[in-house]
Assembly symmetry: C2
């Protein structure tokens, strides 16, 4: 985003006197916010490649590797409200990628498991679905990738919340 540096400057009192020395959280938050938006917009445009929207893939991933899982737990894992998960799973089910399964002991509980097709799609599409981002990253110097590899766990922690 072109205006990014201008915006950075505009924060006045907060911006770096000593670059790299304990950067201001608010600045970092602002830029992370922006970069996340733009990253996802780009991926969204490419998700035709795999045929499915990103949130569905993310949920499918949890279902495939998290075994049969209750809708509630899935909602918690994906950090969304229950109705959102109902819709997501509905879409995955319609696509034949997952199956609902009612708990024998407590019939309120619904578990979702991946079908063979769901698992296959996820494994097959693993690279393809984020192909463009993968390509971008592949063009970075190895040192940059190493840096990202270290930064990602931190991001995951921050994304999970306090």
């Amino acid at each position: 985003m072109p205006a990014r540096s201008a915006r950075g400057k505009s924060t006045g009192k907060r911006s770096g006197k000593r670059p790299g020395a304990s950067p201001a959280p608010a600045d970092l938050a602002d830029r992370l916010h922006s970069v996340a938006i733009h990253l996802l917009r780009r991926l969204r445009r490419e998700d035709d490649a795999s045929g499915m929207p990103a949130p569905q893939l993310s949920a499918l991933s949890v279902i495939v590797f998290g075994g049969p899982i209750t809708l509630g737990a899935l909602a918690a894992a994906e950090q969304v409200r229950p109705p959102t998960i109902t819709k997501l799973v509905g879409a995955l089910e319609t696509a034949g990628l997952v199956e609902r399964e009612i708990d024998a002991g407590d019939r309120r509980i619904v578990r979702v498991r991946s079908t063979a097709r769901g698992t296959r799609l996820l494994n097959d599409g693993r690279q393809r679905r984020v192909a463009l981002l993968t390509a971008s990253l592949a063009e970075l110097p190895a040192a940059d990738r190493t840096m990202l590899a270290k930064a990602i766990p931190i991001l995951e922690k921050a994304a999970r919340g306090p």
Copy 2:
């Protein structure tokens, strides 16, 4: 996301033999994808605090700091299609945060500029709007923030594309 590590392992051939040594782009892309989704979901839940959705704030930010800007340029900056920008700007205009302005020489061209209110809102709300993320980052060790500060420009490059 709980399943994340399991997913990492599942990529088999791609996962790290030597941790930190030129990590596989596909792995990084996968995790970035996921973390971006979760980050934005969290921010979206908080954007009530500032009263506006993230994409509107992002666009407003470009308008405020990028001066009067044509809709086409704004769409390019935000990496979205023209109709999306028309809608976004429409919302901002309705909220009284920006104004349309038709070019005198070429009357097809529309420029948007921020109103005083728009500028004020952006400046006032700068921290508040990503307050939760800011708080999360503030809790990180300074070393982690330093790491993020270095990683963000790389992310911005990757988000911008190849």
